[in-house]
Amino acid sequence: MDVAPELLSQIERIFIHEESVESELASRVRNVFPIDKIEMVTEKPFSNLKGELTAMQFERSKRMLYIAPFKGHFFKRCPGATQKKVLNCCNYYVLNLGLQCNMNCSYCYLQSYINTPVMTLYSNLDQALTELREMAELHRDHPFRVGTGEVIDSLSMDDLTHFSRHLIEFFRDYPKWTLEFKTKSDKVDQFLDLSHAGNVVVSWSINPAFIINSEEHGTARFEQRIAAAKKCRDRGFKVAFHIDPLIYHPDWQKNYGELVDTITANFKPQDLHIISLGALRFQSEQRHMMRERFGLRSLVTSAEMHMSDGGKMRYDWKLRNEMFQFVIQRFKAHNSAWNTFLCMETPESWISSYDSAPMKVDGLKEMFRPLPKIKSDLTTTNA
């Protein structure tokens, strides 16, 4: 499968670390990008930069690709696990195969979370799989969920990396474990031919077309995401939707109502592994970067946000719950079998939306049941 022309033109410069020269990824990069864009390096580019990136440097980082081996633990717990006092956690683990995203959402938390002057793809996937195999052999029968879309979109550059193919093949050996790709792209064709163990979830962060068009720059459009999800469903992959972040705007009820209607028209409750909901939230300090990059014309930067108990800026608690209730009820109006859950939300919001904590909600109990700690819990990420 060819690499999307948008990606080829977006990347202005590619730096390949000398330790990655022989990797499969570097080889693919050399095959698809013109040679004059590629430079071999012995250290990370722009390493003289100190402190946080400016808005301009952050913009530039999306056009600079760095291929290098990752030197730490690939496998980490989801940031939600570190905030158990204020959030309900769903036992999610993350496998980071790169850093920074080639898409450009106004609310993206990477704007306050990462400080890399280049978009990085790790060339040592084999090492990640070795690490994962060690964990999987120890806990083969526990239902661990592993996602690759924490600090990089799982699939938006997968036409270049083909990481998905290696991961799907790996997870065939561990049918009780679940692999989750999380994306805002429609790049799925590169793995649809693979056989799998029925434990691969392809999930889309999705919003109404109006929000995608105004806030999710460089992503697949609404219809493209729905079409890609249908392709995956038809090939037996589990599909999930994260309606996250819910963004308040004057027509929010109409637009989120239509979003739910489109999902329910195209999928059956049993087609969808998960539907999660989350409302707009960000670290307070992130507002500066967002404002500098997107001005105040964005529904995100102009929103009325307030400091919440967990230290993040959120909508008023009642507004959040009104939005959650609306979406949940809209699903239920179609069919009571539709199940949703809240992501990165407080116990109070859970109880307000479901009259219950997640541990007591049918269909979610398993997901929220605490699992044994594994070695890499010591290396939790710190969002």
Partner: protein, 270 residues
């Protein structure tokens, strides 16, 4: 060569300085000038002297800190962006001696250097950090802020209030409000409240509606009720005084009636 060695050498007599960078007035002392000589030497305020032809930006920054003590952001903006300042002052390595995030700091200082001296002094008097002024980077040009920043400087706003006025005002300008309409001829509290109403119109309107509804409920005697916003939650604060179990029982009965009516009013935010 470390900064101590540099600044104690007699390299250049004061009379040979051809150019003086005046970045005063200063918050902590009267020393507010740096002399530059054609031979590449720099006369810091007596008794310090510095050859700045080849020092590293780090050494130069250290020397400036030793000679002039603590630097306020206003003072530093005037020095770094002085029209005749050596380009070395804008090197990230120089900035890194003063700030954890030198590239962002440089952008902020550049904006601050274009604002009136009275505001720069206000920032120094209030000990504003570079992060307090991060909002300045949101504007391509700070020319619209001249009157506003002068008004902040002449007000009795505390540091946090002044920084809040600045942030809300800039956001409102970016939302196409006329900068002049943000300058109220009112006391500081009213000014802040009016800006909050403009920046958070829906929150303020919803809170006011809820407050009015709450106050109309049939609360028992000796009860104080307040509708208070704390962060992302607005909620009822209820204070009740009671003198006997019988009185408390009556109050609880009355409270239950108030609760029923409150429920009837609905709970929609939008």
């Amino acid at each position: 060569m470390d900064s101590e060695n540099l600044i104690n050498q007699e390299l250049c007599p004061r009379s040979q300085c051809t150019n003086w960078l005046n970045f005063g007035p200063r918050r902590n002392s009267g020393a507010h000038k740096i002399g530059l000589a054609l031979n590449g030497q720099m006369l810091l305020e007596a008794p310090y002297l510095l050859n700045y032809q080849n020092p590293s930006p780090q050494v130069l920054a250290q020397a400036l800190k030793e000679a002039y003590g603590e630097w306020g952001v206003g003072e530093l903006s005037r020095l770094v962006f002085h029209p005749q300042a050596p380009v070395l002052f804008q090197a990230p390595e120089f900035m890194a001696e003063f700030f954890a995030h030198p590239e962002k700091a440089q952008e902020t200082l550049e904006k601050l250097s274009r604002l009136p001296l009275s505001f720069q002094n206000w920032c120094d008097e209030k000990k504003c950090s570079i992060q307090d002024l991060a909002i300045l980077r949101s504007l391509d040009s700070v020319s619209l802020l001249t009157t506003l920043s002068e008004k902040i400087a002449s007000s009795r706003l505390s540091k946090s209030q002044g920084v809040q006025v600045l942030e809300w005002s800039i956001e409102l300008i970016l939302l196409s409000h006329d900068a002049g309409s943000l300058l109220l001829d009112a006391d500081e509290d009213t000014w802040l409240e009016e800006l909050r109403k403009k920046r958070y119109p829906q929150t303020v309107a919803t809170d006011e509606k809820s407050r009015a509804e709450i106050e109309r409920l049939p609360w028992p005697k000796k009860t104080e009720v307040k509708w208070q916003r704390r962060g992302d939650r607005a909620q009822l604060e209820l204070k009740l005084q009671t003198g006997s179990p019988e009185e408390l029982e009556k109050q609880i009965e009355a409270l239950q009636k108030a609760v029923i009516q409150w429920r009837l009013q609905g709970d929609s935010w939008t």
